[in-house]
Symmetry: C2
Subunit: 202 residues, 2 copies
Amino acid sequence: MTELLLATRNAKKLGELRRILDTENVRGIEIIGLDAVVEFPEAPETEPTFEGNALAKARDAAEATGLPSVADDSGLSVDALNGMPGVLSARWSGKHGDDPANLDLVLAQLGDVPDDRRGAAFVCAAALVLPSGVEVVVRGEWRGSLTREPRGANGFGYDPIFLPEGFEVTSAELEPAEKDAMSHRGRALRLLLPQLRRLTED
Amino acid sequence: MTELLLATRNAKKLGELRRILDTENVRGIEIIGLDAVVEFPEAPETEPTFEGNALAKARDAAEATGLPSVADDSGLSVDALNGMPGVLSARWSGKHGDDPANLDLVLAQLGDVPDDRRGAAFVCAAALVLPSGVEVVVRGEWRGSLTREPRGANGFGYDPIFLPEGFEVTSAELEPAEKDAMSHRGRALRLLLPQLRRLTED
């Protein structure tokens, strides 16, 4: 088995990548998370782009462990906010990781924005860094629009206010497997599959 | 005297335009504010651009009064927030007109943004609409950067966290006359002077 580090402590993200590799018939890769790595230096996400943050995290992980490493950075890009909260999605209200405060603030900021200008996208950049020095960065997007009230209990972050294109329910009202199939993170990770397949061939 | 309506109830803005006309030797124009107009329909500022809001306000004012009318829309454009708060500057925290809450939120959102990426600009769009149907929209900008703490008691809005380019003090620490000479609103209003001079010639 080839070990691949996914630079996260989030069990949901680990499960998602494992399911994608399984669904896509990528065999021979064992996904490990940061919890299996002793003394990993977790750098703050201070780059101005999703790509920059994902690459910085994957580089740190590859350097600390010597393993092929994948990292992602994701967020909500709101048209009426010129693409913000963007890289600041997790701390938009000033309170890091306070999902209800963050999404309430976005709804308040868009209080006067009419229905036809509430477009948004979930965006995920994923980076793969190999010990050989090879670096790949990809981006997955999931278009939709924003509701006026939160709805649904699945997912996390801005899921309760995001209506995916073509759906009448929010991404927090989708089943996890439905969301996986369409989500920004799923799309980005699938774009890395050609490189991940190659890992098992070397 | 030619009457010119400045579509605002803000006495500071009225004084500023009167001083500019005086300094620039534009004679024969009497500036009146909305307080002198009975039953003016104040529309919400819901356009996605400063220019759109300024023009909408000036059109409403000209239509309601039959007078040549000037209106402005202004805000803070922060580089690290992709130009936001922008048209949402007065309600960034979700609380309309709560200056301390709005600027505290911008400081919190920029908590991890390093000193060399804290650039910002005050932006003002000013629109002039004449009864003849002539419409002119101009934009004034004032570049600077953002502090990490509010400083100074003059001005309003985001003045306490805005360091104008070339200054070591915030725009809330400048004297009003110094600010007038450089500010985004002063620049925009001065760009309307050629059209305003023509008003007195007709």
